[in-house]
Symmetry: C2
Subunit: 159 residues, 2 copies
């Protein structure tokens, strides 16, 4: 029988090596440029922007601060419903603040991934929290998506 | 000075602990049910299916075998172009075989994630390769997406 003495306890079983590696990555390390339109843009113009920028989600701003999010799904629903896309502004169909999940650039990718899964969204706007007249305002500075996380997963498996 | 003798070389630097853990997961461990329509379904019916099943991509079959893939983006483009969604079949607008990236259930999630990133798609149909009259046919048995990979990433970081 193999002697039970002299072996080395590494303590590894207590450590999640996976998260230990993953938590080194912050949102700012993987975030992409956001695609942004103003709340009064027509649905038509926003859809054209969506195709030209080849993205699935657009962030909407009013007075330069985040006011909403609009996605392919929202646009498709509007067109199916027969809305006039040349007249209706995106502000009418977007998901509006404060019902939006966001993330800041110093949070970890693990936190961002958790929030994406919990909120069942494809991406989160990366925001800087500002104050204006005593009110909290969010400035959009990036975007972190399931695509970023899939790419990070691939890269972490390669290294 | 610290003596340079007696330290233990673990060899850890040669091993990617991340992929070592991730490669335990096969496509069949995380795949979801696919949403499938036939090639002659109208675009209208396919869009209704897309919303009722709350999915972003539909797989299209002809004679029970994979013939194409159609996504929110394809539908949005068609509606923008003024196509008659009550008459046009999805077969007219789908991305058609053999221009489709697929995966089998025994491949690893790392392979699936790589293929998703390389092909710039949101999901891959999980297929079983069959033969009919000497021709290769693909039966759709599942779907693996960026959402599955994001969820796996979150779960691996939790364990």
């Amino acid at each position: 029988a193999r002697p039970k003495v002299g072996y080395f306890y590494s303590g590894k079983s207590d450590i999640n090596v996976f998260s230990q590696e993953a938590e080194k990555y912050l949102v700012e390390d993987v975030m992409k440029m956001p695609v942004v339109v103003t709340e009064d843009s027509t649905i038509y113009d926003a859809i054209v922007t969506l195709f030209l920028e080849d993205t699935g989600t657009i962030y909407v701003v009013a007075n330069n601060y985040l006011s909403g999010v609009v996605s392919r799904k929202d646009f498709l629903k509007t067109l199916m419903g027969g809305g006039d896309m040349n007249k209706m502004p995106v502000g009418m169909i977007m998901t509006r603040m404060p019902n939006l999940a966001t993330v800041t650039k110093n949070e970890t990718i693990i936190e961002a991934a958790n929030r994406i899964v919990e909120n069942e969204v494809d991406s989160l706007p990366v925001v800087e929290v500002m104050e204006e007249n005593g009110k909290e305002r969010l400035k959009v500075i990036g975007k972190v998506s399931k695509s970023n996380i899939t790419e990070l997963f691939v890269n972490l498996c390669k290294k």
